[in-house]
């Protein structure tokens, strides 16, 4: 195990049911109740289920329709509020960066920290105290979001440690005890072992990481392939010297939309492209980057999925130029049977953007000031393709105050007027086109 650290200096943080936790923070009436965040349309998929909803069997990546069957009446099914999640995530990542300059965010709710790069007591009691304090600070700063922490001598061990005691857990795997911790666990606990690999291993009686450890490298590679086998062989020995890498740069910026019904109408598709290009363009502009390759993703009625891309002479961040290319790419795709998903992405990112003489001066020529984590109020997806109100959406009413959309339909919208700093609030039903009711930014949770 050359290269593996002697001290438990790698920390892995995984926020607990993150999207659902943010919803429960911002919507006091949902605290302690099952909450499912994800696509709420006919074909939506669950992003996150709160622990209350998991008790009924709801899981992420499950079709929302299935979660609806499993969960009791009164379960909140909410569309995502990514602006709110991102804000909360940034607060957490900020706290991690106070621990060490080496922070590697894996996703919006997960990160590795190299504690050796900070000035810390790396003994087991030392890192245990540090993690306990970190968890407490996260809970205060996020208004009650919890996370599970694993600490170990490698990334793999730290990640497994954070899984052992979820939610709100804290596990420090002592140096030298890695194998004792790993071996009783099912192989699925290792990163890179999905259902297919697990199935194949189960056929030869390999169920735990300990079983895997006893397998020879030759047997393993003959079963799952050379590269994968070699990786698993090392992981089963806790032999993982991957460093914590900061500044994982975005390789692309993209947005996609799944439709409630397959789309064929060219005008409607064009509108969708515009909306997606606007989302991508404004995200590029906010991050001060632009890209040369525009990619269109299309999923047809029969689930066949294809991507088409075009590389331009210059990097672009202007929504209209992105849309222009995407329109062209869509024109070359057979869409006769209808499309269930459209996506637009920009890759080949660069910090330089060739300006466009025809761009609207206010939009693309001036860089968008990043004052606060300013989000488009209507993310996900502005534009006519989106129902005006979606469940969970933040709204504001001049007389009734701030609140969120519980449901809408039949030209009515039901809103619960409450916020992270209020007690559970009253529910009101308004006309869906009530001019007083407006979409709002995510609420501020800080007391």
């Amino acid at each position: 195990m050359e290269g593996v650290r002697r001290e438990p200096s790698i920390l892995h943080l995984d926020l607990d049911a993150f999207f659902a936790a943010v919803e429960q923070r911002d919507k006091p009436s949902l605290r302690g109740r099952p909450v499912v965040v994800g696509g709420t349309g006919g074909r939506g998929v669950v992003s996150t289920a709160s622990y209350e909803a998991r008790a009924f069997g709801a899981r992420s990546a499950m079709p929302t329709a299935e979660a609806r069957r499993l969960c009791p009446p009164g379960t909140a099914f909410l569309g995502g509020r990514f602006a709110a999640y991102r804000r909360t995530s940034e607060v957490v990542m900020g706290l991690l960066r106070e621990l060490s300059p080496l922070v590697e965010p894996v996703s919006i709710d997960e990160a590795y920290v190299d504690l050796a790069a900070g000035d810390h007591d790396l003994s087991v009691p030392g890192v245990t105290a540090l993690a306990a304090e970190l968890k407490a600070r996260i809970a205060v700063a996020t208004g009650g979001v919890t996370g599970s922490v694993g600490i170990g001598t490698s990334k793999a061990v730290a990640k497994i440690g954070s899984e052992l005691d979820k939610p709100d857990g804290l596990t420090v795997v002592r140096p030298g005890e890695e194998l004792a911790v790993l071996h009783p666990l099912p192989v699925r606990a290792l990163g890179g072992v999905g259902p297919a690999t697990a199935e194949r291993l189960a056929q030869i009686g390999v169920k735990t990481i300990g079983d895997l450890h006893r397998l020879s490298l030759v047997d393993l590679t003959s079963l799952v392939g050379q590269a994968h086998g070699a990786g698993l062989h090392r992981l089963a020995r806790a032999d993982d010297d991957r460093p914590v890498v900061t500044d994982r740069e975005a390789k692309s910026v993209s947005a996609e939309e799944t439709f409630a019904r397959d789309l064929t109408d060219p005008a409607r598709l064009a509108t969708e492209i515009e909306a997606l290009a606007t989302r991508v363009g404004s995200r590029l502009q906010r991050s001060g980057t632009s890209g040369r390759t525009v990619t269109l993703k299309v999923r047809r009625y029969d689930f066949s999925t294809l991507t088409r891309s075009q590389t331009l002479a210059h990097a672009v961040d202007d929504p209209r130029q992105i849309a222009e290319v995407a329109h062209r790419l869509l024109g070359a795709v057979d869409r006769s049977g209808g499309l269930r998903l459209l996506g637009v992405g920009v890759s080949g990112l660069s910090p330089y953007a060739q300006g466009d003489l025809f761009a609207e001066p206010a939009e693309a020529v001036e860089p968008v000031e990043v004052v606060e984590p300013a989000e488009l109020p209507a993310d996900p997806a502005p534009g006519p393709a989106v129902v005006a109100w979606y469940p969970g959406q933040d709204v504001v009413h001049p007389d009734l105050g701030s609140g969120w959309v519980w449901g809408s339909g039949l030209n009515r919208v039901t809103v619960r007027f409450e916020g992270p700093r209020t007690t559970p609030g009253p529910v009101r039903t308004l006309a869906a086109d009530d001019p007083d009711l407006q979409p709002a930014d995510p609420p501020d949770w800080t007391p």
Binding site: H314, A315, R328, Y352, D356, L357, V365, P367
Partner: protein, 386 residues
């Protein structure tokens, strides 16, 4: 058909016509060059329904007639012939070419299948051939090459009485140039969009005579075409059927600072520094009073370069980034020893224009110069990070 002609004369006429042959003809006959002899005149023509070219030369002919021969092959052969008189004879379905000891026999194409060239539209006016070539060259450089946006592959040609304005843009730069001409009818007003590559090629090769006659057929029946005739050569091109951008609206009406650059020195410096600018990365120009510092490259795994160049500049210091090719194209097109560059901000278009020499004294205020050499080249900057 039977004629004798000087090798140089034939080679030049065929080469010029062959330029406009389509690289991938939609029908085989369009790959041909049509030779027509009548009364001591040989006409060498090509046409692909977009562009037609016809060159006329004097020959000694003993028999009139016409033949359609593979164009590229004919061009290659005539270019390679030894320096002797050339005898060309149509013999049934073949064309015999003999020159000195060299003899060729070419298959011909069915001349009856060849489309007739469009007739020259009515004359619109006359322009000095060198002035026309210069103006077109200066403007066409800014036209786009991406066929997916036809509007951007054209040069806008606007006629307003005795003034012609040319404009082209690929959306990153815009070049505009005005010049005087003699319209056929006073008060003529027209605006058309001409394929940039064809226009540039024609203007450059119609300079053997003093003047070029422009003729226009637009709107009404049939598609619009532009005809250009110089000495012994005339060409027509189909016009682009697209709206041009309202480019006057994006011409800055004022500037906050300007620099006067020695074009040669500045160009050399920019070319050197640009050597390390990898694709898509800009040339940074840091203007401070009396000088500009050019930089490119920067990160650890790229090369870096820096060069200072003395310029006249006395505004607020300004750092602006340009695509090196766009900047160099503009510098090469101003055709004066010194160029003026007007700035608004580092994110707004910079305007390059020529400076008249000798400049007696400086009467400039803060606005872009309005001079006889009316060339303007707008470059949209590259946004620099940070």
């Amino acid at each position: 058909m039977k004629f004798r002609v000087a090798r140089e004369v034939l080679a030049e006429a065929v080469a010029w016509t062959a330029r406009s042959l389509p690289p991938r003809p939609s029908v085989p006959v369009l790959a041909g060059i049509l030779l027509e002899v009548e009364g001591g005149q040989l006409a060498v023509s090509g046409f692909d329904y977009e562009v037609s070219a016809r060159s006329e030369v004097d020959v000694q002919s003993t028999e009139a007639g016409r033949a359609l021969v593979p164009g590229r092959l004919l061009a290659e052969i005539t270019r390679a012939l030894p320096p002797h008189p050339v005898d060309v004879v149509a013999e049934g379905a073949r064309l015999a070419i003999s020159c000195g000891n060299a003899k060729f026999s070419l298959p011909t194409l069915p001349v009856e299948d060849y489309p007739s060239l469009p007739s020259m539209p009515s004359t619109a006016g006359v322009v000095d051939s060198d002035a026309f070539a210069e103006a077109v060259g200066q403007v066409a450089v800014a036209a786009g090459r991406d066929d997916t946006l036809p509007m951007l592959t054209g040069v806008r040609l606007e006629i307003e009485d005795d003034l012609v304005t040319l404009a082209a843009t690929d959306r990153y730069r815009l070049a505009v140039r005005e010049f005087a001409w003699r319209p056929e009818t006073p008060g003529l007003s027209a605006a058309v969009l001409v394929p940039a590559r064809t226009l540039a090629d024609a203007a450059k090769t119609l300079t053997s005579g003093p003047e070029v006659v422009l003729s226009l057929a637009s709107g009404g029946s049939g598609e619009g075409i532009l005809g250009m005739s110089g000495k012994d050569r005339r060409t027509t091109t189909r016009l682009l059927d697209a709206e041009f951008v309202k480019y006057r609206a994006i011409m800055p009406s004022e500037s906050s600072s300007f620099a006067t650059l020695p074009v040669g020195l500045f160009t050399d410096a920019a070319k050197r520094v640009a050597l390390v600018a990898e694709r898509g990365t800009p040339l940074r120009c840091e203007f401070t009073p009396g000088q500009v510092t050019l930089r490119a490259g920067g990160t650890d795994d790229e090369g870096q370069a820096e060069e200072r160049c003395d310029v006249e500049f006395d505004g607020e210091p300004l750092t602006i980034g340009f695509n090196p090719t766009f900047l160099l194209d503009g510098l090469a097109a101003v055709h004066t020893d010194r160029a003026r560059m007007d700035f608004t901000t580092a994110l707004k278009p910079a305007v390059l224009s020529g400076v008249d020499e000798p400049s007696a004294d400086d009467e400039d205020s803060g606005r872009p110069a309005e001079r006889a050499g009316s060339y303007r080249y707008l470059i949209m900057p590259v946004r620099l990070p940070g």
